[in-house]
C-alpha cells in the first residue's frame, strides 16, 4: 500500500542568505513541479525557524551552526546533523587604510552585529589568540543588525566593522574607500587548521528515522545544487536575483563565490564542528545550549 500513497513533500527551511543561495537550483526545480518533493521556504530570521523546528513543523532546516547545538540540547536529541553547508563568510572591513593585520586593531573600535552568536565568539577568539583582550585592547560595539553597521561604515570614515557576506560585497560596491582588511576565516583556518563552520543543515530526528530515503535524496539534490552554483555562476546569479536573495544578478555574481557555499556530509563536518563547539563552550556554555552535543547528533541512525 505504501507505494500508491502520494509522497508528502519534505518541509525545508533556509535563511535568506548564503544558505538560501545554496538551494537556488532546488528552488527552481520545485517551482511549478507537479508533485514537489520539497516545500522550500526562505526565512529572514532564525526565530521563525526555531519555533517550527521545535514544534516539528519543519523536517529539514538550515541554521547557524551554534543554533544547531542549542536546538539539539534543548529538544533533548530531537534533531540530527545532516551536514555543513556554509563556511566562514566573516570579514573585517574598514573605511580607510589603517588596519592591515589583527595586531593593528589594538586601541580601535570594531562595530559588530551578532551579539551572542557566531560572529561574537569568533571575533573574541581570534583577538584573544592574537594577544588582544576584547574590552580592553579593542572595543567591540554591538549593533542590532548588519545593515545598520553597513550604513554607518559608509557614512563615517575610519569606521572598522565585522561583517558577513554578502553584505561585504554590497558595501564594497557602494563605496570605493571601503576595503576588506582582514579575512577572519583565513585567520581561523590558520589558528585551527580547520574550516570555520557558519551554517549547517539539520533534520528532525523522527523524520531521519522514518524517511531515511527522502533525506538521502535531499542531500543528493543539495549536493547537486551546490555543484551547479560552482560551475554555472552566471545562471546561478540569475536565479539568486529571481528568488530575491540578492537584488541584482551582477552583485550576486561577485558575492556568490565569496559566500563559501559547500556541502560536507555529517561525518565530514564532525571534526571542525566539534572543535568550533568546544571553543564556544569555553567562551560561554549557553552558546551551545549548556553542553557539547554528543555522538548521536552526528550519526544518522
Amino acid at each position: 500500500g505504501c507505494a500508491t500513497k502520494p509522497v508528502e513533500p519534505l518541509e525545508v527551511a533556509a535563511l535568506n542568505g548564503p544558505t538560501g543561495i545554496g538551494m537556488v537550483q532546488m528552488l527552481e526545480e520545485m517551482e511549478g513541479a507537479e508533485n514537489p518533493k520539497y516545500n522550500i521556504a526562505l526565512y529572514q530570521s532564525p526565530d521563525e525557524i526555531v519555533g517550527k523546528v521545535v514544534s516539528g513543523e519543519l523536517d529539514i532546516a538550515c541554521v547557524p551552526s551554534n543554533l544547531g547545538a542549542v536546538l539539539y540540547n534543548k529538544t533533548e536529541g530531537g534533531i540530527k546533523l545532516l551536514g555543513m553547508n556554509t563556511l566562514g563568510v566573516l570579514y573585517i572591513v574598514e573605511n580607510g587604510q589603517t588596519v592591515q593585520n589583527i595586531e593593528d586593531l589594538k586601541g580601535k573600535t570594531i562595530l559588530s552585529s551578532g551579539k551572542d552568536s557566531t560572529p561574537e565568539f569568533v571575533l573574541n577568539y581570534i583577538l584573544n589568540e592574537a594577544g588582544l583582550v576584547p574590552g580592553e585592547d579593542v572595543t567591540v560595539e554591538f549593533m542590532g543588525n548588519h545593515s545598520d553597521i553597513a550604513s554607518k561604515l559608509m557614512a563615517e570614515e575610519g569606521t572598522i566593522a565585522l561583517l558577513p557576506q554578502p553584505f561585504v560585497t554590497t558595501v564594497l560596491a557602494k563605496n570605493e574607500n571601503i576595503r576588506m582588511a582582514i579575512d577572519v576565516n583565513e585567520a581561523w583556518n590558520n589558528l585551527n587548521q580547520m574550516d570555520l563552520p557558519m551554517g549547517i543543515i539539520i533534520a528532525n530526528a523522527n523524520v531521519v528515522k522514518d524517511n531515511a530515503k527522502g533525506i538521502e535524496a535531499f542531500l543528493k539534490d543539495y549536493e547537486a545544487s551546490v555543484k551547479f552554483i560552482d560551475e554555472n555562476l552566471e545562471d546561478a546569479a540569475a536565479l539568486v536575483e529571481k528568488f530575491g536573495i540578492v537584488p541584482n544578478a551582477a552583485l550576486a555574481k561577485v558575492a556568490i563565490p565569496k559566500c563559501n557555499i559547500v556541502y560536507r556530509d555529517s561525518s565530514a563536518s564532525k571534526d571542525s564542528l566539534n572543535k568550533f563547539y568546544e571553543i564556544l563552550e569555553q567562551a560561554n556554555p549557553k552558546a551551545v545550549g549548556g553542553k557539547l552535543p554528543d555522538e548521536a547528533f552526528y550519526t544518522l541512525q
Binding site: 526565512y43 526565530d47 519555533g51 517550527k52 545593515s147 550604513s151
Partner: protein, 252 residues
C-alpha cells in the same frame, strides 16, 4: 462663494505647512550632507514615482493594508467589547486588568517565537498589531465609559428606557471622543507595528519586506520613499476613518 474662499484659505495653509516641512527636510539633508543617511526630497520623490510604476508595488501594499485593516478591526472590536464588559461587570474588570497590563508591557520580541508557532507568517503581523493596539483601545474606551454623565443615566433608568437605546443614544455620543482618540492613535500605530512585524516575520508580499531589503542593500532613497508612502497611506486611513465617524452620528 463665502464657503469656497474659506476652503481655499485652508488649502493654502495646508500647502504652506507641507512646504515648511519639506524645507526642513532639505535643510537636514544639507546639514547631514550624506545621501546615504538623509537623501534629498527630490531624490526620494523620484523613487516614489518609480515605485508607483511597478506592478508588485500594489500587491505589496494590498497585503500590508489587509494586515493593518485586520489588526485595527480585531483590536478595536475586542478592545471595545472587553472595555464594555469590564465597565458593566466589575468581576470582568478585575480579571482583565492584569491581562491588559501584561499585554501592554510584554515585549513583542519575547513572544515572537510563540507567535510564529501559533500563526502563519502572513498573520503574525496581525497578531503583533493586536498586541500593541488592543490595550490602547481598551484603556481609552474604559476611561471614556467611566466619564459618562451619571445624571443622564439616572434619567434614562427612571424612564425605563431600553438598554439598547441607552447605549446608542447616551453612551455612544459621550464615549465618541475617546473612541476617536483611540482610533487616531491606533491607525498610525498599526501601520508602524504591522510593518515592523513584517520585518521580523517577512511574509512574501509585504511593505515591511521591501523596507527591509531597501535597508539591507543600503538603498536609503528607496527606504525613505517607502516611509513617505507609509505616512501617506496612514494619513489617508485616518482621514477616511474621521469621515466615517463624522458621518456616523452627530457631533456631541
Amino acid at each position: 462663494m463665502k464657503l469656497s474662499t474659506h476652503c481655499n484659505k485652508k488649502i493654502i495653509t495646508k500647502c504652506w505647512v507641507i512646504f515648511f516641512w519639506i524645507m526642513t527636510w532639505q535643510v537636514v539633508h544639507y546639514i547631514v550632507g550624506k545621501d546615504i543617511l538623509v537623501p534629498s526630497f527630490y531624490a526620494t520623490m523620484g523613487k516614489v514615482f518609480e515605485l508607483l510604476g511597478q506592478a508588485n508595488f500594489y500587491y505589496d501594499i494590498g497585503m500590508t493594508f489587509y494586515r493593518v485593516f485586520m489588526g485595527v478591526v480585531i483590536s478595536f472590536v475586542l478592545g471595545s467589547l472587553s472595555a464594555l464588559m469590564a465597565y458593566f461587570l466589575p468581576i470582568i474588570k478585575e480579571l482583565f486588568t492584569p491581562f491588559v497590563t501584561t499585554l501592554k508591557s510584554t515585549p513583542v520580541m519575547a513572544v515572537i517565537i510563540l507567535a510564529l508557532l501559533w500563526f502563519t507568517k502572513n498573520n503574525v503581523p496581525i497578531f503583533v498589531c493586536f498586541l500593541m493596539c488592543y490595550p490602547v483601545v481598551y484603556t481609552s474606551i474604559l476611561k471614556g465609559l467611566q466619564e459618562v454623565n451619571k445624571d443622564l443615566l439616572e434619567m434614562a433608568y427612571i424612564f425605563k428606557v431600553k438598554q439598547r437605546y441607552i447605549l446608542k443614544d447616551l453612551y455612544l455620543p459621550q464615549v465618541r471622543p475617546y473612541i476617536e482618540s483611540a482610533l487616531g492613535m491606533i491607525i498610525g500605530l498599526s501601520w508602524k507595528v504591522v510593518i515592523a512585524a513584517e520585518v521580523l516575520a517577512v511574509p512574501k508580499y509585504s511593505m515591511g519586506y521591501n523596507l527591509l531589503s531597501a535597508k539591507s542593500y543600503l538603498e536609503t532613497e528607496t527606504l525613505f520613499a517607502w516611509v513617505v508612502i507609509i505616512v501617506i497611506l496612514s494619513s489617508l486611513c485616518e482621514m477616511l476613518v474621521a469621515k466615517l465617524i463624522g458621518r456616523g452620528g452627530n457631533k456631541i
